[in-house]
Symmetry: C2
Subunit: 219 residues, 2 copies
């Protein structure tokens, strides 16, 4: 088989909020599904190397904020392409902290809910948490962002820790234009009307916020 067929699976886009003592953090996941409804139980898969995964293993609580098509790609960049271990990923991201000490993201998100872990299953690289939904917002607004939308419209990529990550061969624009790839998150810049060199010096990657110098030309 060709692994690429697994790209046919459909997902949404979510911010997973966690706490570590007094510290709050969040990461991005696409692997959230409801697995039962009496009570409401969801599953989410996170890489062992993710700081958020360790936080959930320690205190058994997390939030899910459902991203909408109006959520900026920069929010995904801020939460999805760096580790919360050493940085405050929420510094420039609007959020609210619940009474339980866990943040929910307020960047044009559709809704949020709070989950308590019931059990977890281990794979070699990822932990799959099953968790009961114990609280949440009263309504959902906006159109949920799908993973397909993230790839097609926002032109985002999967970070290396994502369960759906696959090494992709980047190819230069076939229609004559050059393309430049962000070495941090894999975002490809290829606007045929504005050459990369003409972007202002303080331009940053719209996905992960990396500076212009983090981009390299693709062959």
């Amino acid at each position: 088989m060709n692994d690429v067929i697994l790209n046919s699976l459909s997902y949404g886009m979510y911010a997973i909020g966690v706490k570590d003592g007094e510290k709050k953090s969040a990461c991005i996941a696409n692997t959230v599904i409801q697995v039962a409804n009496t009570p409401n139980i969801i599953a989410v898969s996170l890489n062992h190397d993710n700081y958020s995964c360790r936080c959930i293993q320690r205190n058994g609580l997390f939030t899910v904020s459902v991203l909408s098509e109006d959520t900026s790609g920069a929010v995904i960049g801020a939460l999805g392409f760096s580790s919360g271990r050493d940085t405050d990923k929420l510094k420039n991201v609007r959020h609210r902290v619940l009474a339980e000490g866990i943040p929910v993201i307020k960047e044009n998100t559709c809704c949020w809910f709070l989950c308590r872990v019931l059990t977890s299953s281990e794979t070699a690289t990822h932990t799959v948490f099953l968790a009961e939904v114990i609280a949440g917002s009263e309504k959902a607004v906006g159109k949920p962002m799908t993973y397909e939308y993230y790839h097609r419209v926002i032109k985002g990529r999967a970070p290396k820790n994502a369960p759906t990550y696959r090494e992709e061969k980047q190819t230069a624009q076939e229609q004559g234009g050059e393309s430049w790839i962000c070495t941090v998150c894999g975002y490809v810049y290829s606007d045929p009307f504005v050459p990369f060199e003409e972007l202002p010096d303080d331009w940053v990657c719209p996905i992960c916020g990396a500076p212009k110098s983090a981009f390299k030309r693709q062959q």
Copy 2:
């Protein structure tokens, strides 16, 4: 919280193929995600009452066929709204049987893959299987059907065993037209140009194949 916010989670649409001795069957699921990639592991949630769930518990093998937007709603009806315990659900559904004795669906599906169960987690109503992808098609074709597309375009409903099932209050068409609901699968007929009474006597529900007599007028 309002349970309806969980409708903001995004899913695809899949046929899960199973065997029970010599017998082959299949059901419909929306809850399939990839949870790890070295090796490729997926998760799927099935209701304990589903015949397919019992088949997988017994022999640990199943297939996933990814439905596309070109897959007929009638395929979902045939596989999703009756039990394979007593009927041959595959009778009118094009499929191929793998060497392992498990069917894959060939009704304009995008691709298929074969899975071997590694472990499972129980909830009160559903089993969540984690399974390794051990074989699959060489390519994917067509546009994967999302659960949102199934609801919006095919106007399908969740059967009572689905993890995402929620009781819905059916309301009459607000724009003056009548609507009729299939008592088997919940499909709502409300074509403003063709009154329900004028449909031919041999018309059947496009989702589950129930006869015209299985419909009742909505208030």
